[in-house]
């Protein structure tokens, strides 16, 4: 078959701009400035364990909050009429089309010490509160920016759940809570897994939200990496090692969410 040749330009492109660059990251991570093989970059990365730990922790919190907000919302939207669903999903997607820098900037306006929220609170004699440059502000920024990434996959699995199935569960004596636990939740697990990955990945690797809402005093692993390549700390070797650490964290996250969704799917197939 000649058709295979059609993939040749892409294979060349991928080799040049996907494989070789990734190889370079690996190479930089295991060499020093003089080109000697070394593991120092990884031991140096471990000095930043607190930063890595807090990045993972903040991303987990943000992902958890997104799930808690999005799950009921996606369910409620999926039970609306056709035109209602369409409009609401459009409303969920609309902010995604605005650049996330602009959306994050909007929160700077709101959270600043003399920002909108503190001024409004001041009018009723409260505050001012220190809201920006806190871990809470960074988590808020993650939740705000990535909430649609949780809502959309959840909605797309829930809208496929047959209303008759829920009715049947109720007829067979399930309380609303039991219906949720035994019917809706198992059927929506693939959506939960996708949503978690889609929120966790950008949250844990962001270097912008922490700078804009954390005020630079507050570092995440993304900021560390960025500093090694474009900042004063210039050290691409350490940056490459940190990138590999970040990818390892994400791989772990994907393995975990995979474990979550797969057995249930298999169970679903058996039924």
């Amino acid at each position: 078959m000649k058709a295979r040749i059609a993939a040749a330009p892409y294979l060349l492109w991928a080799a040049l701009f996907i494989i070789i660059p990734m190889g370079l990251v690996g190479w930089y991570a295991i060499t020093d400035m003089d080109g000697n093989l070394t593991l120092d970059n990884f031991s140096a990365s471990m000095r930043f364990a607190p930063v890595i730990g807090s990045s993972v922790w903040l991303a987990i919190i943000a992902t958890g909050i997104c799930l808690v907000i999005a799950y009921p919302l996606a369910y409620m939207i999926s039970r609306k009429s056709g035109i209602g669903q369409r409009t609401l999903i459009l409303l969920v997607m609309l902010p995604m089309w605005m650049n996330f820098l602009l959306r994050t900037y909007a929160w700077m306006t709101l959270l600043e010490n003399n920002g909108v929220i503190n001024r409004l609170l001041g009018m009723i004699g409260l505050g001012p509160y220190e809201m920006i440059n806190t871990p809470g502000a960074v988590v808020l920024g993650m939740v705000y920016n990535y909430l649609p990434f949780m809502i959309l996959p959840l909605y797309s699995v829930m809208t496929k759940i047959e209303p008759l199935l829920i009715e049947a569960a109720t007829d067979l004596g399930c309380s609303p809570w039991e219906t949720m636990k035994r019917v809706i939740l198992p059927l929506s697990l693939p959506g939960i897994a996708t949503g978690i990955t889609m929120v966790f990945v950008p949250s844990v690797s962001t270097f912008v939200i922490s700078v804009m809402l954390g005020g630079g005093s507050f570092m995440l692993i993304g900021d560390l990496i960025e500093m090694q390549f474009l900042g004063n700390a210039y050290n691409p070797h350490l940056g490459a090692a940190l990138s590999l650490v970040l990818m390892a964290i994400l791989l772990l996250c994907m393995v975990i969410t995979d474990m979550f969704s797969n057995p249930e799917e298999k169970e679903g197939l058996l039924l």
Binding site: P9, W13, A14, P21, V25, P95, M98, V204, F207
Partner: protein, 269 residues
Amino acid sequence: MTKKQNSFTSNLYIFIVMAFMYLPILVMIIYSFNDSKSRGAWAGFTTKWYADLLQNESILTALWNTLIVAVISSVVATLLGTAAAVGIQAMKKRNRELIMNFTYLPVMSPEIVMGVSLMLLFVMFGVDFSLFTVIVAHITFNVPYVILSVLPKLRQMDKYLFEAAMDLGCTPLQAFMKVMLPEIMPGIISGFLIAFTFSLDDFNISYFVSGERAQTLPVLIYSMTRKRVSPEINALSAIIFVVVLTVLIITNLNDVRKEKQLQKGGRRG
């Protein structure tokens, strides 16, 4: 009765989440008309930030850069990706899986890692950062999305159609143009649209490969938020919001109209 209560709570909940999503944008739009450099205080109505925006050379250049990059990178990615999908589909299972694995790499790996990996490549080979490096980077992260949206269409297609066309005297190119292309067109178009919007919106990767002279709009916005408070950003956000809203409403109304026509046609048939 409980059903009514239920729908009231669910509407209230939906309203609250939507308020959370839209209040910041609303505040930004309101402050784009604020006659004060400070972000918090309100000092009267003005449209001067919009006028400033339209005269701001660097913003206009960045906007132009963004559009050039988006058009070129999405067109090239669509051509490259469509050809790749056709080729991959024709491969044996083992090769196909191997190629799909590294095709998923840019989709799954964090954008910052992709950004720094391309930066290392360009630095290593002494390529200066310019629109060219930005376009190359954008093509690279866009091609997988085109492949992933064309492949399912190829799989759905009856594989004997192509052979039948050849048996009936088509050259392979004719068979591709006349038989295969119309079948997979929806996948190509959606792949192109995804590539175009991702390219317009990208910051994380462009940031590492654009340098000083080839800033795209998101990269410029970031440097503006670093330096000082600039109300022009609010005006820009307001404009982008209105443009996106209009586009979405128009395409959505179009979809609804098409569906209605289909339903009517279905009934007649």
